[in-house]
Amino acid sequence: MRRAFIRATAALAAIGLTAKAAAAQSPSSTSGKGRVKVVYQLSEGIDQAVRAMANLRNHLNAAPDTKIVVVAFGYGIDFLVEGAKDARGNTFEAPVAALASSGVEFRVCHNTLNARRISEQNLLMDAKVVPAGVVEVARLQFEEGYAYLKP
């Protein structure tokens, strides 16, 4: 009788283990197959943007297949405004154009444009506008499987 009990317990344990293993495998749609997607959040200002230009370049050099979307809001939109310059006096037109040409998308928060009274017409042509930056960052992760990165 005791032997039966032990055998039953072992069987149950085996089932339990199998079930757990199955559960671990199924929700993984990002199990390493398919294209890696990353959303870069830029919300701090020109200095962060300067660093991000280098990060983005390195990122694509190392993993050219990565789909990258930059979402800018708050002071993070500064580098996408026409005429913006970094501490050295260089404009962002060249690096943004080069990244856009490699497939990087630049999305600017419309709430920020309103709050800071910046017209969409003042943005670099490579930038697109989305209704709300924070919503876009959350949406890309939750709905489209993007990984989050804040340089």
């Binding site: 060249a94 080069a98 040409s101």
Partner: protein
């Protein structure tokens, strides 16, 4: 007035009419200056554009980066302060074909253009301007860290 300018003006008038009636395609295709775009040197290109020589001018403002991180996308901007500017051309000396782009400035349009070109390697880039029937140039060396013509 020399023959070339009269031809250009006539062509422009014809094109405007065709544009209004939607018949633009054939005229445009016929007009593309293949000889100029096949040119392998500054001299070849200027000759194909109807010039007999080229003179340095400090009245041309040529804005371009000193170093291009990505040779595939190099922003260049040209402003001509020479009176009667009718044409602006961008020449990249070390590219497989020297002429990158050629712009016609109709009356009423500012003698200014900004665009993005590919550079295969570090090279002198020339902003050539045709004004009053003569060709003038301002030049600048642009260093390229990652060539952009492909191959």
């Amino acid at each position: 007035m020399n023959v070339k300018r009269r031809d250009v003006l006539r062509m422009t008038a014809v094109l405007s009419l065709m544009a209004a009636t939607g018949l633009i395609t054939e005229a445009q295709a016929a007009e593309w200056n293949k000889t100029a775009f096949d040119g392998k040197s500054v001299a070849d290109v200027i000759k194909a554009l109807g010039g007999s020589g080229i003179e340095k001018s400090s009245a041309i403002t040529f804005v371009a980066p000193d170093i291009a991180e990505n040779g595939a996308v190099v922003p260049v901007a040209v402003t001509s302060n020479i009176p009667d500017t009718e044409q602006i051309a961008i020449l990249v000396e070390k590219n497989p074909n020297t002429l990158a782009a050629d712009f016609t400035i109709p009356a009423g349009t500012e003698p200014f253009v900004s665009t993005r070109v590919k550079m295969g390697q570090t090279s002198v880039v020339h902003a050539a301007v045709k004004a009053g029937g003569k060709w003038y140039v301002a030049s600048k060396e642009i260093k390229v860290t990652l060539g952009g013509c492909g191959g």
